[in-house]
């Protein structure tokens, strides 16, 4: 991974160093999983569950996403999903709308940027 790419990724809110530690410096796999993340079934599951106001499903999906986000070092997304997970954990979807909207926006943005960067 060249310096340029590393900087760009960091600008996208990624803690590249910690993540690469976790991936034992396997940069290729790290980049693959960064892109693969956007196909994670839990993302769709979260939207679906939220439209049905199923807090338990929302929690499980969001919680799983959070784990992956943390492991990939996506610090900005992590900061946005954490409060939503806590709302769902308390057994309700009430008050998660705005947070989720913001998270979805960041998710899409990051996806678009990474697809360009890592293509």
């Amino acid at each position: 991974m060249d310096r340029e790419l590393r900087l760009r990724l960091m600008q996208e809110g990624l803690d590249v160093d910690s993540a690469l530690d976790r991936f034992m410096d396997n940069e290729e796999m790290y980049c693959r999983f960064l892109l693969k993340f956007f196909e994670d079934a839990n993302y769709g599951r979260l939207q679906e569950a939220f439209s049905q106001k199923n807090a338990k499903e929302c929690f499980e999906a969001a919680h799983a996403l959070k784990g992956v986000i943390l492991n990939l070092g996506m610090d900005r997304l992590a900061g946005e999903i954490k409060p939503i997970v806590e709302i769902f954990r308390s057994g309700t979807c009430e008050g998660a709308d705005k947070g989720l909207e913001q998270f979805n926006e960041s998710f899409r943005q990051l996806r678009d940027h990474l697809m360009t960067l890592l293509a």
Binding site: D21, K36, F37, N42
Partner: protein, 359 residues
């Protein structure tokens, strides 16, 4: 040497990948994406698995359910489970610990920390299992030694009893036969009269204890013990003391290894001349106030005395002996034991005739 195995269970591929990377050098690392698949692998590899890294929230069967299933198979004792929790939430950890999880790791993964925790947990479990194996081994050894000590106790008292018997009887056969008759009667009592609470273990002790019934005769003088004719009233009074003296001897021996056995010895020595109607000695106990072990040995003793030749009498045939016992010529016995005697008649006769052939 074969690599040990660590099972990685997480529904997120990236989490599995990261963990796999961390352990692949040292371990084989099969993976499962949900609880059901995990349980299949756990049962398949239960002897190779050194640890399981287990996510909490998964589709189909979650981490808690996997813990419960492992508990049902008795595997939590054997294989340490390290739970992957999303974050440090006390309630999740409490539930997991309650269900038998050994350790926790949190997301995001700190690889060196996880490697250390897993290694420590594996070592701890190996150590624990080894300790348990040693304790089990030692316990078995102690049990075997206790058993040996117990039986050598039985044999010691039996040897002393046989020596005592040699003073008035010519062979040691009485004690062997008393044990045989006692065993036959005990088995029948256990089968027909459960109210007496006999068990295989109790019977074993009663049978060994029956050998000591006349141990008190050691203190009866030759002039009385070996007198060919009928005893005078005074002599008989002295003869009767073999019961209380026998009990005293047993009490003083204070066997601590098997209290149940020594208390059977005590009861049998003291009460084996009591009669069901209260006309026996030394206490004149009546009915089931006489301990069942003493009642059983009493019939066995009377029957063997009748069918054997003694310095003061000829041997009766087994049939004569039954009649005499039934007629109350040798005192009154518990009707339930008479019933048992009747049902043992064939076997008693066979034993008695074996003895008659020998002498």
């Amino acid at each position: 040497m074969n690599k040990g195995m660590i099972l990685i269970v997480d529904d997120e591929e990236i989490n599995r990948f990261v963990l796999k990377q961390a352990f692949a050098e040292e371990y084989e690392t099969p993976e499962a994406a949900d609880g059901e698949a995990a349980m299949e692998l756990i049962l398949q590899y239960k002897d190779q698995l050194k640890a399981i890294l287990l996510d909490v929230f998964m589709p189909h069967m979650n981490g808690f359910e996997v813990l419960e299933a492992m508990e049902e198979h008795g595997l939590l004792e054997k294989i340490p489970v390290i739970m992957i929790t999303g974050d440090k939430k006390a309630d999740v950890e409490e539930s997991a610990l309650g269900l038998g999880a050994a350790e926790f790791v949190t997301k995001p993964f700190e690889i060196p920390v996880i490697q250390m925790r897993v290694r420590n947990t594996i070592e701890l479990f190996a150590h624990k299992n080894e300790m348990e194996r040693l304790v089990r081994q030692q316990t078995e050894k102690i049990e075997r030694q206790k058993e040996r000590l117990r039986t050598s106790n039985y044999r010691l008292l039996e040897a002393i009893s046989t020596m005592v018997e040699f003073r008035d009887l010519e062979t040691g056969g009485h004690i062997v036969r008393i044990k045989t008759f006692t065993k036959l009667l005990c088995d029948m009592v256990m089968k027909l009269y459960p109210e007496y609470g006999l068990t295989e273990e109790k019977i074993e002790r009663i049978v060994y204890a029956s050998a000591t019934h006349d141990i008190g005769k050691i203190s009866i003088s030759d002039s009385i013990l070996l007198k060919p004719g009928k005893l005078t009233k005074e002599e008989f009074e002295i003869m009767k003391t073999h019961t209380t003296l026998g009990a005293e001897i047993i009490r003083n021996l204070q066997f601590t290894i098997d209290r149940e056995y020594s208390s059977y010895c005590y009861e049998i020595c003291l009460y084996h001349h009591e009669k069901y109607d209260g006309q026996g000695y030394p206490m004149g106990l009546e009915g089931d106030d006489i301990p069942i072990a003493a009642q059983i040995v009493s019939i066995a003793d009377v029957f063997d005395a009748l069918v054997s030749e003694r310095c003061y009498k000829k041997a009766y045939t087994p049939d004569e002996a039954y009649d005499m016992i039934h007629n109350g010529e040798c005192g009154i016995f518990n009707p339930k034991l008479i019933d048992c005697l009747d049902r043992c008649r064939r076997k008693f006769t066979r034993e008695a005739l074996k003895n008659a052939e020998r002498s």
